[in-house]
């Protein structure tokens, strides 16, 4: 006889029958079962699961959108600033961008000094626009555009905050259900 077999024999001797409470007698239990409406708890539980699934989906989609959307916006913003810098927004459709006349005419034939505006400390294109008070596009200055883009992000923060709150609420509810 192996050690395990011997242990099983000993355990079989020790596993005595347990007196079953009267409340679990078949008649009593069947009476309770007939009185209780069984589908209710099941419905609540499945509703809870659907709610949890929906909340998870909302959180996942929101977080994905925030991460990807913000990155995409950052990329498109830099493209826009390039466009502004090269004056594409000021062009009429079909009009080719003209090269600046002064660059063509004033360029030295050979060995000349660099133009002054490319020297160190020269104002940037955006600063030059600001200095001239020139509207960037649609009558907005660069600063106004930046401010508008900043304020346009409030709903992202609101959505992200709501998603995080929903996640926190879900965790609290689940913990409360486990404690019951």
């Amino acid at each position: 006889m192996s050690k395990d077999d011997k242990t099983i024999r000993d355990l079989e001797r020790q596993f005595c029958d347990v007196p079953v409470p009267a409340s679990l007698a078949p008649d009593t239990v069947m009476q309770k079962l007939r009185q209780a409406p069984p589908p209710e708890a099941k419905t609540n539980r499945s509703a809870g699961r659907w709610l949890a699934l929906a909340a998870t989906l909302v959180v996942a989609v929101t977080l994905t959108y925030l991460v990807v959307g913000v990155g995409f916006r950052a990329n498109s913003k830099s493209a826009e600033s390039y466009a502004q810098e090269f004056g594409v927004f000021d062009m009429d459709p079909g009009e080719a961008p003209a090269l600046p006349q002064d660059d063509m005419n004033s360029a030295p034939a050979s060995g000349g000094a660099l133009p002054e505006d490319s020297a160190e400390g020269a104002p940037s294109t955006a600063d030059a626009f600001q200095a001239q008070g020139k509207p960037e596009t649609d009558g907005e200055t660069v600063a106004e555009t930046a401010a508008r883009q900043q304020s346009g992000n409030w709903w992202r923060w609101a959505l992200g905050g709501a998603a995080v709150l929903m996640l926190a609420a879900g965790i609290v509810v689940l913990r409360a259900r486990r404690k019951k």
Binding site: F15, V18, P21, L24, P26, R178, K180
Partner: protein, 175 residues
């Protein structure tokens, strides 16, 4: 009641026959309670667990696809209920009695003179305890236990060996 007779009642119970379900329950409630008692280590939680198990079985027996699998199915419900209850018990003991953490059996109302066995069982993991109780107490084969616990039969056998070794070590003076 024999297992075959029990299984023959399942289709009637699935069709909504309360008497058939009552007979099914009468044929297995003592085993269910005994299993729950040794899984949880106290009488009150075992009683609750069996009641919840029967309520779930009553509500869902129509969905049971294979009538022959009734016993495995109801034991699976019982095991899952006991596992959840055990988690809650451990949480309560951890939170409320940090110095006297010895598992749920510390507050258990133990029965008979097998207190040592009940305590030793509480040192096993959920699965190991279920394997020992179902195999030794109820005489289930490793294949049947594998179905209840959703495990491989070989895994059940190796876990059983480990559990028996732990119990031997725990109960050395008694076994």
């Amino acid at each position: 009641m024999e297992k075959d007779k029990l299984r023959a009642l399942v289709p009637a119970a699935q069709a909504g026959d309360d008497d058939a379900f009552s007979q099914l329950y009468a044929g297995c409630y003592k085993s269910l309670y005994k299993t729950a008692y040794y899984l949880l280590g106290n009488a009150a939680d075992a009683e609750d667990t069996v009641m919840e198990t029967v309520a779930d079985a009553y509500a869902g027996i129509a969905k049971l696809r294979v009538p022959e699998a009734f016993e495995g199915w109801i034991y699976k419900i019982l095991y899952n209920k006991a596992r959840r209850k055990r988690g809650v018990l451990l949480y309560k003991v951890t939170v409320e009695l940090p110095e006297t953490l010895e598992g749920p059996s510390t507050s258990a109302e133990t029965i008979g003179d097998n207190t040592d066995l009940v305590r030793a069982l509480q040192t096993l993991s959920q699965q190991e305890r279920a394997i020992v109780v179902l195999s030794v107490c109820e005489g289930y084969t490793s294949a049947e236990i594998a179905q209840v616990l959703s495990l491989n039969a070989n895994t059940v056998r190796s876990k059983q060996m480990r559990a028996l070794a732990k119990l031997r070590a725990q109960m050395e003076p008694n076994v």
